[in-house]
Amino acid sequence: MTGSASGLESPAEDLLKVQDLLVHFPVKVPLIQRLISREKVVVHAVDGVSFSLKRGEILGLVGESGCGKTTVGRTIVRLLEPTSGRIIFEGRDISHLSQSKLRPLRRRMQIIFQDPHASLNPAMTIGRAIGHPLQIHGIVRDAEEVRQRVLDIMREVGLTPEDQLFDKYPGDLSGGQKQRAVIARAMILEPRLLVVDEGVAMLDMSVRAKVLELILNLKRRHGLTYLFITHDLATAKFLCDRIAIMYLGRVVELGPAASIYAEPKHPYTQALLQVIPIPDPDKRRKKILPRGEVPDAIHPPAGCRFHPRCQSVLPTCGWEGRDFIDLLDEHLSTSPKGVEGDELLGSIGEWWAEGFEAGRKTDAKDPKKLVERVKEILARAPPAMAQAVQSVEAKGEFVIVQFRTPDKLVHTAVADRTVECLLYQ
């Protein structure tokens, strides 16, 4: 292939720049609900993500399912339309290019998905599938030349014996071979950027290594640039130059892979790293696990999105009304029935939370008692949360718990990376 060492491309130049990328998906809500509440319900899949990719670099986008990493990958190659923000590929803003203008660019940016089986048409031979992009893009029209190019790329990705496999169907191939075919199909267009979305996750360990080696070899030979999307931190450590850790639509830490693994800064990164199983029975250890699960992205938590689960949380991290509701819910469901004062709290359904407030309408003659009880419960909350409470007051017929407004979170440069955490601001 040609073009890898073309003099026009300076290696330091960013191949891809993503600035403040926002991708929101509308949620279907029933008509009645839409009429009652004017608020637009959207999933904040990607909520302000910025990073850049240098030529010849492998950037890992790492996070749990639902963090938005796949959405970032698909939006970059414009399978999805960004809600706002900019995607600059080879110096050109492609954020809102029309499909017809995108098509020639797609030659230069390809994406590979997790499931090789679903990515291949079962009724198309491997050879035809790999050669198909050449015909779609009108690059090669001569059938014999297509065949020759396909055989070349098959040999390069290790789909051998290539002349035998050429006429096979996907069903005849193993998982590893299918993934090689998918890589070959992407590579035949000689792309500059390859987005690999969980490209090895479905493969057995014994074949995974081979495909990773192929990815590295292709990079060396063609000067490829990769965005490697994965939930597997061990694979990302081995493969990537830099890593971006995502949580609920935000990049919380971004920096060189080696230093992130040596000394993770963000509490979420720290949590992720310590749960990776170590394949050595002598290294069993007690883990400190974050509480609960990733909250849903329709109403992401205020402030730092990780704050309800964070071990190092501060009073300024974004405590809000619903955190109090969660605390109360836990108290009511775990404390034995008939504890004095609990009858004042009522049932959890009688409480509401809105922004930094939580409250309840009370018909009690003496709302002060309820205020006292709420304060007692808050005293048993995590200290950071208790300190974030500005006031617990009776206002007319309501009892209101008011949290302070959180400090503004900004990406901060810490040593050789950027971290989005108040601990470092």
Binding site: M205, R208, A234, P279, P281, K287, S333
Partner: protein
Amino acid sequence: MHYKTRRGEAHALDEISLEIAQGETLGVVGETGSGKSTLAKAVLGVLPPNATVSGQIIYHGSDLTHLNDDTLRRIRGKEIALIFQDPMTRLNPLMTIEDHFLEEIQAHESISVEEARSRAREALVSMGIHESRIRNYPHEFSGGMRQRIMIALALVLKPFLLVADEPTTSLDVIVESQILEILQDLRRVYKMSLLLITHNLGIVAEVCDRVAVLYAGKLAELGPVRDIFHRPIHPYTRALLSSVISLETKELHSIEGSPPDLLIPPSGCRFHPRCPYAQSICKENVPPLVEYRPGHFAACHFGDTFL
């Protein structure tokens, strides 16, 4: 254990002998198609009709393969429970979580609905799910919660043996850790035995007492977890261990070739076409399972040289 298929008989499992003690966790590892899941299904007697089983599955002294369906049904669920990789294959989308529990409990025990309800709530709370959610439907829960519900369902009757087939594979790493911790706690509290089927050797190292390595339906190696990880004998086990990508990985290793077609398994040692140490004897004779150290078995003609 053979499957009859349209292309002939597939030897999904071939002369596997395993024991699992009370309170023990036995890990079963191997590549896709090694027969791991078939083993789980065979233990529970839930294989598809085209499967034929020979040999015995002795549970508390009686052979499960000879029990009639009624007796087997009584044991299944109550004494031996199974959890799968994908919770949605076990949970009925049209039933509330409470209905699932009631069905399960009342199939095995004649207790009042009230009592069954309170046991259901208890089981759910023990998995960290709020009891107010018991009337919800499966789709109203996250993946991790569904998996915990499935575990709660499997454990509500306090089985002696839990067979877990890739119980955390579809989950995120943090939730995976949470689930594994729950399973270990239960094992300690109830002295439950756990047959853990997984392809993740990291998990095996963290939770198992003993490990069985399957290759193409044959038992390649079996032994205490420390021996398997620190002093593996079978070349397949060694290759499998070195292919693991962990945080300490500096270079990649893979196993050449791919697992064989079980309709036409290789002669002799089934691993010989991929084995770097294979000699002519490996093609000709099936290696016996030999005990090289106390409790540490391997099926390799050259086991002595790998000690």
